[in-house]
Amino acid sequence: MAKKRVPDWLNSPLWSSPSEQHRFSSAVPEPPEQPPSPPPLTIKQDPPSIQHSRTNHNHNHNAIAIATSSSSSSASTSSADENSHSRQAQSQANLLAELSRKVIDMRELRRIASQGIPDVSGLRSTVWKIFLGYLPPDRGLWSSELAKKRSQYKRFKQEILINPSEITRRMCNSGNYDADEVKCETRGILSRSQITHGEHPLSLGKTSIWNQFFQDTDIIEQIDRDVKRTHPDMPFFCGDSQLAKSNQEALKNILIIFAKLNPGIRYVQGMNEVLAPLFYVFKNDPDEENAAFSEADTFFCFVELLSGFRDNFCQQLDNSIVGIRSTITRLSQLLKEHDEELWRHLEVMTKVNPQFYAFRWITLLLTQDFSFVDILRIWDTLISDPDGPQETLLRVCCAMLILVRRRLLAGDFTSNLKLLQSYPPTNISHLLHVANKLRVQPV
């Protein structure tokens, strides 16, 4: 039986010197049979050619000026730093150009954003909001949409994050409550009054607000514990400062409201990890208004992001077609398609069940396996890819496996498992390039 050969592009010298030259080629991803990286000197030719083809799109002359100036600066040296700077400036210019249009071309924006969003002027925050369906493509509608959603969140907070004492007080106040101005006796028997709707704190009735409140307390405690443990190394999230405490409060509120609005999945450990990068990006938006409403924005974006992944969190669906097991199987299949030798070694010979490592990769969207900065970069691609976050995530996971294939092939069960459960730091753009390549690989 002929063993499927490792495709040439996997063994190419591309891996020894990661380069981003291909990014400046045409919009269609190049087929893998093409020879590897063009030498770095050609970079100065590429940007002008792109500009020509895109002048129709790009009415912003500033972008061309920036690009040509950056390309001329990159021609003088060919170090990787310069390349990435110019690439960043280029992509920032492109993004700003795209975002300044009246109606945003989503496809174009996706293409630019999947190459990485530079960490300036709230670009990432705005772009993520667009892709997660929070901001519509038509810029004219932004302010009305934002106002609507933010006031909706405020209502949620008022209705949901309220304790039963408050509710009973409001119910009383709606009645004839004049005990504030009491019948000026200064001593005597206190008058008893009837309770409203049979509501008292020890009530065991199913519809009793008190009973529901107590049933929710254990979820609230769980959320509280998890939020306190989120990213303990980052002062933004953890510590005694006022900032950390208010951020934790915001995270808790979002998770509690989500749990109450979704009785089907409530809260599952790990949702706090998925929430953290979103909140970080939105809260650090330089625009003050956006930062002030970051809690509301994060809530809606979190709902949207999780909507594709909800089934992974529902325990009853674990074994079904949409559950986490089947997603892991799909990852396995993907690996088998692209690198059968590695697949066979991992699953058949060393018997490393993908559930041992892929479960955390998939349910937590890789937040536990990379540094925070890397997570933001990976999520740029995840969120902006037109295939959708679930598909892209599987490709990224597959790429993660392929990148360490030499070590995996040389290892046994224990070392492979250790390697995969604490994934070594790697060049992220390299990783995403491989993931991208997996998209066009023929079956």
């Binding site: 304790n163 039963p164 004492s165 408050e166 009973t168 007080r169 009383c172 005990a179 504030d180 009491v182 200064t186 001593r187 005597g188 028997i189 206190l190 008058s191 008893r192 009054s193 009837q194 309770i195 049979g198 008292h200 704190p201 020890l202 009530s203 065991l204 107590f214 307390t217």
Partner: protein, 190 residues
């Protein structure tokens, strides 16, 4: 929103076998933050039972209590309110508002909880509020045989207290409530 359970005068096992089943079914652990007990439990088993409901338990000594280590009076602060606890057999005449007001001024508390009369009462006076949760088992008292089981649950929320009175009348649990507020001065405005 702090829930405080006030009860007492169970007189188990001498005058009553146990707290009524309907009360016990409502008193589940995890809901109540503090328990204050006026006294006359009388045995350790009742103490242990109350401890399972809530770890923060305060008891004062009644004249029939078998554990002599409970204090005669106790004061504690919950939220913005100062609560005082005393069994009440020391205050003569038993259940008299003026004498209890004297005790309240001595302890310097906003809410005084006493028992011994086995009758639920809630009085206010210039110095504060006096609450008697009655007898949780309906045991007969030194004064009367006609006693309904009762206890009190206070919901302390910032400057406002809602007192829920639970009574077992003819085998049914009846709940009433009493509201009062405290102004920012030390004297409750009622």
């Amino acid at each position: 929103m702090v829930l405080v359970l006030a009860l007492g005068d169970m007189h188990i096992p001498h005058r009553a076998p146990d707290i009524p089943a309907k009360f016990k079914s409502m008193l589940v652990p995890g809901k109540i933050q503090h328990i204050i007990c006026t006294g006359n439990l009388c045995i350790k088993e009742v103490h242990d039972y109350l401890k399972t409901l809530c770890p923060d338990l305060h008891i004062t000594r009644g004249e029939y209590d078998e554990d002599s280590r409970y204090p005669e009076t106790k004061t504690l602060t919950i939220g913005q309110f100062k609560l005082g606890l005393c069994h009440g057999h020391q205050v003569i005449p038993w259940g008299d508002l003026d004498s209890l007001a004297m005790l309240q001024r001595q302890l310097d508390v906003d809410i005084l909880v006493t028992g011994h009369t086995h009758q639920f009462t809630a009085y206010k006076h210039e110095g504060g509020v006096v609450i008697n949760p009655g007898s949780a088992t309906g045991a007969y008292s030194s004064i009367t045989y006609d006693v309904n089981p009762s206890f009190v649950l206070m919901d302390i929320d910032a400057l406002r207290v809602v007192v829920y009175v639970y009574e077992l009348i003819d085998g049914e649990v009846k709940v009433d409530k009493i509201d009062f507020k405290k102004t920012s001065t030390s004297v409750p405005a009622l």
